[in-house]
Symmetry: C2
Subunit: 243 residues, 2 copies
């Protein structure tokens, strides 16, 4: 047999056969005078063996090991490991399909769909209409959520979704917007920081003072005006003193 016949017999491509030679899965047969490989039946048997194992999902490296081992001990081990691996893959697949189904079940599939459904529900009830600062805040919260797994952050935010809290929040966003072009020394800055400190739910205050302070503050305040950033700094000071 020449390589094409062998390949057709077992149902693979000639490239595959040569690949297996290259990896040492199949011994190189004799060559004819013209350099062609000349296969015997045992090569076909060997090739079919390799294919069986490959179709079970063993990697070609594993197959080489198994064939070298030459008797069933190692094969049994490898197959069991493989089965474990497949079980893990099944679980992962199922989880992914669940998340997908949750996504597809939602009528809104905009860019915001990139946060979890739970987070999206909470964000929807935050008052962000028309406020530049509100938009920034939402970005920020969504971001923190994706970094930490969402549900923790969503829990922190839920108290802010009540109608009364929404009204107060709207007012605070408006006052933040007013400070966009203000001086950091403006008296409204300190006033707003104080009101904000009274408005935030205690668990949220803890979260803000709990984490390492400097790093995220800098990142966040870099997006705001000087006065708005000052509000944040004062706010954290206040919360820290209260604790």
């Amino acid at each position: 047999m020449r390589i094409g016949e062998l390949a057709a017999l077992v149902g693979v491509s000639t490239r595959t056969v040569r690949h297996y030679h290259h990896l040492g899965l199949l011994p190189e047969p004799e060559r004819l005078v013209n350099g062609y490989r000349e296969y015997r039946l045992r090569d076909a048997v060997g090739l079919a063996r390799v294919r069986r194992l490959a179709e079970l999902g063993l990697s070609l490296d594993e197959i080489r090991d198994v064939l070298a081992d030459d008797q069933g001990r190692e094969l049994r081990e490898v197959l069991r490991e493989l089965d474990d691996d497949l079980a893990r893959q099944q679980a992962a697949l199922a989880a992914r399909r669940e998340r997908l189904a949750a996504l597809l079940a939602r009528p809104d599939l905009g860019p915001d769909s990139t946060v979890s459904p739970e987070m999206a529900a909470v964000l929807r009830d935050l008052p962000a209409d028309g406020s530049a600062f509100g938009a920034l805040d939402r970005e920020l919260l969504a971001l923190i959520g994706t970094g930490t797994g969402d549900s923790g952050v969503a829990d922190l935010l839920r108290p802010l979704t009540s109608p009364e809290a929404q009204a107060r929040g709207r007012a605070i966003y408006a006052r933040m917007d007013e400070l966009a072009a203000a001086d950091p020394a403006d008296p409204r800055v300190a006033a707003l920081a104080a009101d904000l400190a009274g408005f935030l739910p205690p668990p949220m205050a803890e979260a803000m003072t709990g984490a390492d302070p400097g790093r995220w503050m800098d990142t966040v305040t870099a997006e705001m005006s000087a006065a708005q950033a000052e509000v944040f700094r004062l706010l954290v000071d206040l919360l820290r003193k209260a604790a």
Copy 2:
């Protein structure tokens, strides 16, 4: 933010961030005077978005398309296709695990385990003990099986697993072995061919004469002695005339 902070914030490697830049999934931010990339919050949001989609299982190319599309229509399509794909993968995984379980359930896990359980059961009941020709025959049958899906071949062979057929088969193998060093013109050759023609189940005879004649005959007889090959040639002639 510099690239390390961004990466840590979203939970990926800096290499990943640069990779996304390279693929156009994430816009390149401004550079500082020293050439460092300087990220803003929106970059983190964008990166988190990409990660969400990637973790759902979209390829990076698909993610780029979805982001370019910029509103949910395409996303919904893509997600549905993805779900179909995942469903197929689940089915494939389940099938593989089934085959694996069948393999692991067998106490014998030698090289022969590379044929299907059905085929193995039939082969086990073929009389191959000690006969060189019997060994060749088994190789051959197993090989044909893997090429065609096993069950068809197994059905053809099943009539040969009865105790009486086993006895007759053993005798035929023995006579084949005797011909290993004989002359192709030996009178035992024609006699064996005739007996063999009477022994084979009709469906099997059909299968042997049905397929294209020249190719597999050459391959097979190349493994035998001249006299044994002659038996095969005569056998096929007889079967063809009988049909």
